[in-house]
Symmetry: C2
Subunit: 198 residues, 2 copies
């Protein structure tokens, strides 16, 4: 029988999205067989992430500094704030270099099904950032899913009392599409055609 | 853009079988979002495997001791040796509790396609174990694949000069089937009906 160490590693890997118990076992064998080239790099990468990365107290990004590099960057346009569901969406937009402003990560989307309520998301923090002033435009960059759009509407309502222009990404996004899966061209088009929230 | 730490972790995960770059990225986000419940256990499990597990110098098993628990177990039948391709196969057979003897892990199978030659496998070590004496039967428990059977034939030839009975698992195994994927019933049947290599 495999040792408890191997069982524990198999279980930990099996909890990752995309890996079930069977593929986790295969992955463990792969790691054991090629320790120098697979296990060692994975271990040190994981340890580095665990030790060095923290969540930015301003925007919710994950980075080696807090505030994160984006929040600390003086060349960024402070007046423009892009609200996204997840850190991955921030990365996708940042990778595209299309948005010159700052970000705000909600940490998810409203979902009756999954029991995600407004207080589970970083909406109060967003309201406080806008309240603090200096922001002219808030771009709602939620996914083009039912839950993403519900979240966008809720956020728009929560901030409508502030003197900011609230826009959202144009729905050139494929319906049901998730931001993180889109190419830069699609993102660019959606960003260019962004429109005020009615 | 994601930090170098995150890129390194994504790359390390993407090298695992069953995870591509896209699902590795998803896995990293999952780890970052649920650090306490996913990243921390995975890190400690990986560290434990890395620190505590070693390859048994006798049989090639992976265990917390060297020689491994199976090699060190005095209740095991020293006269019976089961040769398998991979550690996973050893575990599958050991889990079934059907084989009372000891094991020998080749560490792969001969493959012209993948350039795996006899000297890449632990065949010399097997020959030395048999040469040392005390073994009556060698059970070749290779996968019922073309490469597995080629390997079995090669090993059988290499050890035919010794006064040992060389058997192989009965081909009740589904053709193309891999040992690690079989239920204990199938394994039991194949083991019961094992036959001398012609
Ligand atoms: Zn930040
Ligand atoms: Zn051993």
């Amino acid at each position: 029988m495999a040792s408890p160490e191997i069982e524990a590693l198999t279980n930990a890997l099996a909890r990752l999205p995309g890996l079930g118990p069977r593929s986790a076992r295969r992955a463990v064998l792969h790691l054991l067989k090629r320790r120098e080239t697979t296990l060692a790099p994975l271990l040190s990468a994981l340890a580095a992430v665990n030790e060095r990365l923290e969540t930015c107290g301003v925007c919710g990004n994950v980075d080696t500094s807090n505030p994160c590099a984006i929040c600390a960057d003086p060349r960024r346009d402070l007046r423009s704030l892009c609200v996204v569901e997840e850190v991955a969406d921030l990365w996708a937009l940042d990778r595209s270099r299309l948005f010159p402003g700052k970000f705000h990560v909600l940490g998810g989307r409203l979902s009756a099904l999954e029991g995600v309520r407004p207080e589970d998301l970083a909406i109060d923090g967003l309201v406080r950032r806008i309240e603090a002033g200096g922001i002219d435009e808030v771009v709602l960059a939620m996914n083009a899913t039912l839950e993403g759009q519900t979240t966008a509407h809720y956020v728009a309502e929560r901030i409508e009392r502030f003197p900011v222009r609230v826009t959202q990404l144009a729905h050139g996004l494929p319906v049901g599409g998730e931001l993180d899966y889109l190419d830069d061209g699609t993102l660019a088009q959606a960003l260019r055609a962004r429109r005020p929230v009615a």
